[in-house]
């Protein structure tokens, strides 16, 4: 008879790697995989950053650059969007931070399926290589827009309609396979491998955000997967899932009866949860950064957890707010406007709770904290403009204009990236054992925070004016004044500035890896488990001989009467040092 043995109690089966290859290349250690994921994502993100610079050159200074024609302009737009959303943000939050933090924050030695975890990274790398290969094939990468709407995505008249789109769809399919392998792993690990005492309601919000986002991904990515497969069939073997009978550049196509709107439903059934696949990990990570550096518990932890869960659930019933003017039955507008504006409520609660975490805190103005608070500002801005677009009526004039571009870059570009930088600066000392250069970090913050706002704040007003997006050139119109063109040039200057200033970040990371001062085990005096590892950076297996035991939530800061202003999760209550006369330590966080 076998008895059930929790994973935390099972004898360790880690095969310690001995060779360079098994340690750093075919590694099954979640921390190495996290860094592989992270550095690949940052690399491909830099390519997308350069692409955005090229787009901005054309928009700010039309008819100036010989190497930007209408066709490669659209290719830059498409690849920039796709890389940033999928191959950078999704991969870095889940593959990078998910991999690094889940086992460390829940007190596990590794993911429950280390081999699968390794495969996940190599499939991700394969998907990146397929994607990048499309720059070198005949016709170049697809220029169908990151939404890849058929029929144009697979018809002549759109750049990259021959090889580019095939590689794009193949790359997405491989990415989704990679994500699924990683995602099943994250979910199972969170559910099964938590250490003793680590109840779900004691998990740091980072884990909650990553956990719920991964579940969203596991439900949402299949919709993208099937649409990629169906579009590939339409393209290569002549099916008509998304292709009605149309005439393309004077020729009747051999399709009939398909529905382009079906693709849009499938795409956004993935695409909207995708926004939260990126946002929820960001919400979680930033909560932990804010709480640690404000030296105060996160305000309303339980509400924060339920808000993450509620947002995750609601994100599956709002997708068609991307399609108010798509030609779907307009009566759907009522339902989707209603659900979309409901989602504003849990989102607003999260914002209030972040700000209330600062209130009555003791705020240390560190580099990660500056990025985290910068995030609050950019996220408030991006979230509020979302209320415009989600409200179906207002979408009529603003849809497909630069207002949309400005909105989603604030809410889904700048905000998550502020969190990424906050998180990288916050956990870099743990990952590397070194401290980064604070001055360079602050320069990087100010350039990024002020620079991105200079890009996107005025861009909203171009959209309100009615300047359409995805235009190679605005050309002549009766309603767009020259001042708008001049504004476009200013926006380009700001964008190029922000782009170049990211070099400060790269330099800081490289310099700190080589020359940074030793950071110590717990430089931020944080409570969560990853800061309590016996080694920094943590060794293979994370915890040495014995797994940690958890006694409380991850936000026990500023406990009245305690000697230190933080009580780590794994210190037994009787070992908490109290001030003279303060009595015994009591965990009050779980008294409801």
């Amino acid at each position: 008879m076998t008895t059930y043995l929790p994973i935390a109690d099972q004898p360790s089966e880690l095969h310690d790697p001995h060779t360079f290859i098994s340690k750093y290349v075919w590694s099954q250690d979640h921390k190495v995989i996290a860094i592989q994921y992270g550095s690949t994502a940052v690399f491909v993100g830099l390519i997308a950053l350069v692409l955005s610079g090229l787009m901005r050159l054309q928009l700010g200074y039309p008819n100036t650059f010989a190497f930007i024609d209408p066709s490669n302009y659209l290719q830059f737009v498409t690849m920039h969007g796709m890389i940033m959303v999928i191959y950078l943000l999704t991969a870095l939050f889940l593959g990078g931070f998910g991999n690094y933090l889940i086992p460390l924050q829940i007190g596990a030695r590794d993911m429950v399926f280390p081999y699968l975890n390794m495969l996940s990274y190599w499939f991700y790398l394969l998907s990146v290589l397929i994607l990048l290969a499309s720059f070198f094939v005949h016709g170049g990468p697809t220029g169908a827009g990151w939404t890849l709407y058929p029929p144009q995505a697979i018809l002549r008249g759109t750049p990259g309609a021959d090889m580019g789109i095939i590689l794009m769809l193949a790359s997405l399919a491989v990415f989704i396979i990679a994500f699924t392998m990683g995602g099943l792993n994250y979910v199972t690990t969170v559910l099964q491998a938590r250490t003793h005492g680590m109840t779900m309601m004691r998990m740091p919000l980072s884990v909650w955000g990553i956990f719920v986002a991964t579940i969203l991904g596991l439900f949402a990515f299949p919709a993208l997967f099937v649409s990629a497969v169906m579009m590939t069939f339409d393209n290569l073997i002549g099916t008509s899932f998304f292709m009605p009978a149309v005439q393309s550049l004077g020729q009747n196509v051999a399709h009939t009866g398909g529905s382009p709107v079906l693709f849009q439903h499938l795409f956004w059934f993935f695409g909207h949860p995708e926004v939260y696949i990126v946002a929820l990990p960001a919400f979680g990570l930033v909560s932990d950064v804010l709480s640690t550096h404000a030296r105060k518990n996160i305000f309303g932890y339980r509400m924060m957890v339920w808000a993450i869960v509620a947002i995750g659930a609601l994100s599956f019933v709002v997708w068609a707010h991307h399609m108010y003017v798509s030609g779907m039955n307009p009566y759907f507008g009522f339902f989707f406007a209603f659900t979309t504006l409901i989602i504003a409520v849990p989102t607003a609660i999260k914002v209030y709770n972040w700000v209330l975490t600062l209130w009555q805190g003791n705020i240390r103005m560190t580099v990660p904290m500056m990025f985290a608070m910068g995030f609050i500002f950019t996220f408030i801005h991006g979230g509020l403009t979302g209320i415009f677009l989600g409200n179906v009526t207002i979408d009529l004039p603003l849809s497909d204009t630069y207002f949309v571009v400005a909105h989603f870059h604030m809410v889904m570009g700048v905000s998550p990236i502020m969190v990424l930088f906050a998180s990288i600066y916050h956990w870099f000392p743990k990952m590397s054992g070194k401290m980064f250069n604070v001055t360079l970090g602050k320069i990087h913050f100010w350039a990024t925070f002020l620079g991105t706002y200079a890009i996107y704040l005025p861009m909203h007003y171009l959209g309100i004016l009615g300047v359409p997006r995805r235009y190679y050139a605005i050309g002549t119109t009766s309603f767009i004044p020259d001042s708008a063109m001049a504004l476009n040039a200013n926006i380009t200057q700001a964008a190029l500035f922000v782009g170049v200033m990211q070099l400060v970040f790269i330099i800081n990371i490289i310099w700190s890896l080589v020359k940074g001062k030793p950071a110590g085990h717990n430089p931020w005096e944080a409570t969560s488990l990853e800061w309590q590892t016996p080694d920094t950076p943590p060794h293979h297996g994370n915890w040495g001989e014995k797994l940690p035991v958890v006694y409380r939530w991850a936000y026990e800061y500023a406990v009245p009467g305690a000697k230190d202003d933080f009580v780590p999760q794994n210190i037994p209550p009787e070992e908490v040092v109290m001030l003279p006369g303060a009595g015994k330590y009591v965990n009050r966080s779980e008294e409801h």
């Binding site: 010989a66 024609d69 209408p70 659209l74 016709g139 220029g143 709407y149 029929p151 008249g157 750049p159 009605p244 009978a245 149309v246 005439q247 004077g250 009747n252 009939t256 382009p260 709107v261 030296r295 305000f299 509400m303 003017v325 030609g327 009522f334 406007a337 504006l341 409901i342 409520v345 607003a348 609660i349 700000v355 600062l358 009555q360 805190g361 003791n362 705020i363 103005m365 609050i376 500002f377 509020l384 403009t385 209320i387 179906v392 207002i394 009529l396 004039p397 007003y461 171009l462 309100i464 359409p468 190679y472 050139a473 050309g475 002549t476 009766s478 309603f479 001042s483 202003d565 009050r588």
Partner: protein
Amino acid sequence: MPFIIAIVFLVIISVLLHLLSPWWLTPIASNWSSIDSTINITFWVTGFVFVSVNLFMAYAVYKYRYNKDRRAKYEPENKKLEIWLTVLTSLGVASMLAPGLFVWADFVKVPADAHEVEAIGQQWQWSFRYPGADGVLGAADARLITPKNSFGMDEKDPNGQDDILVSTQEMHLPLNRPVKMLLRSKDVLHDFAVAQFRVKMDFVPGSVTYLWLTPTVAGTYDILCEELCGIAHHAMRGKVVVEDQASYNDWLAKQMTYTQQLAQADGDPAQGQPFYAVCAACHGVNGEGNIALNAPRIAGQQDWYISRQIGYFKHGVRGTQPGDLYGPQMAPMAQTLATDAMVANVAAYVSSIPEAPVQTTVTGNIDNGRALFEPTCGVCHNASGQGIWAVNAPRLAGMSDWYLVRQLQYFKSGVRGGHAGDEYGYQMTSMVQALKGDQAINDVVAYINTLK
């Protein structure tokens, strides 16, 4: 401290930009001022939240800045406060959603007295269809499109016989009458957007979508395509003229119905041949062109293109711009063809002349020319430069290269294509910007010389 100043500064800048912005909604020209009101309500509510939450954050960061002798307050949660905030937020959201839904209810319900007009989108042009006297549009289908039936009309549908077909880039609407715009695409997704009307909607091939509005201010407005539709998406421009009912009726009466269009005889080369004598003086007996007289080759060019250009010369759309050195010569010559039928006959004759190769005069880097041509020019003019009738793009291969260079320069400098009557000129003036500098033009034309 710099952080607090930055937040306050950004809040002030945002509010000031909003209040002083010269970039705002264009003056409205339709009944949808309720949309503008909804936007304004939303700006007030969200603006209040933006300012108050951010200033509260700045204050908190100032008041609770780090002090090693102080400790944060231990307060895991505050149920009462959280409930209050939830309730207030819900009320705020409802105050924005409710007006939005009321306006949307108006938008989805088309008034019973709205008249119907169809806009047709195709890569990268507009055309329009008005129901005739019967008030009903006939059936149409992309599969029925041929060079003679560019609207894809179903010839058997009696409702379609009196439909008015407008294949220019300009539509007209009467003032103060609700109109239901039916949107039909021949090929891919497009979007009908007029900033001054506020409303927009996508075209979906395979179905007909719609929107409705009442134009309230007379004027001419740009129609933009606002759904990505391929490489010339940005060049897909139309115009809508809003005018009083009488002017509208006059305009409509001048347009041709489907029946009238069917009745137009095809050009007859035999009847066109005698009139060609005038042309032959410069363009040569075999239409081969004459560089000394600045007359390009015309033999083998598509008849619809020749017809249209003769029409342009006749009506002053071409040959009247300052800077067009040789265009004015064509105007009197074109006048010799008095009727549309004569123009069609001559055009039919010209395109039927057996072709002989022309002397090439332009040299350039063919590889570079190919790299420029294929992704851009080749999409409409066809990869082998044969032209595509469906997108109104003429043949380029084998035509006089010096003429192509000159026309590209004209399009680039606006000498050609800028006239309001030049239906597809805007596209060329826009797309030609992909060619930067004279060398690029020579390279492209040198590549076209290699096409068969």
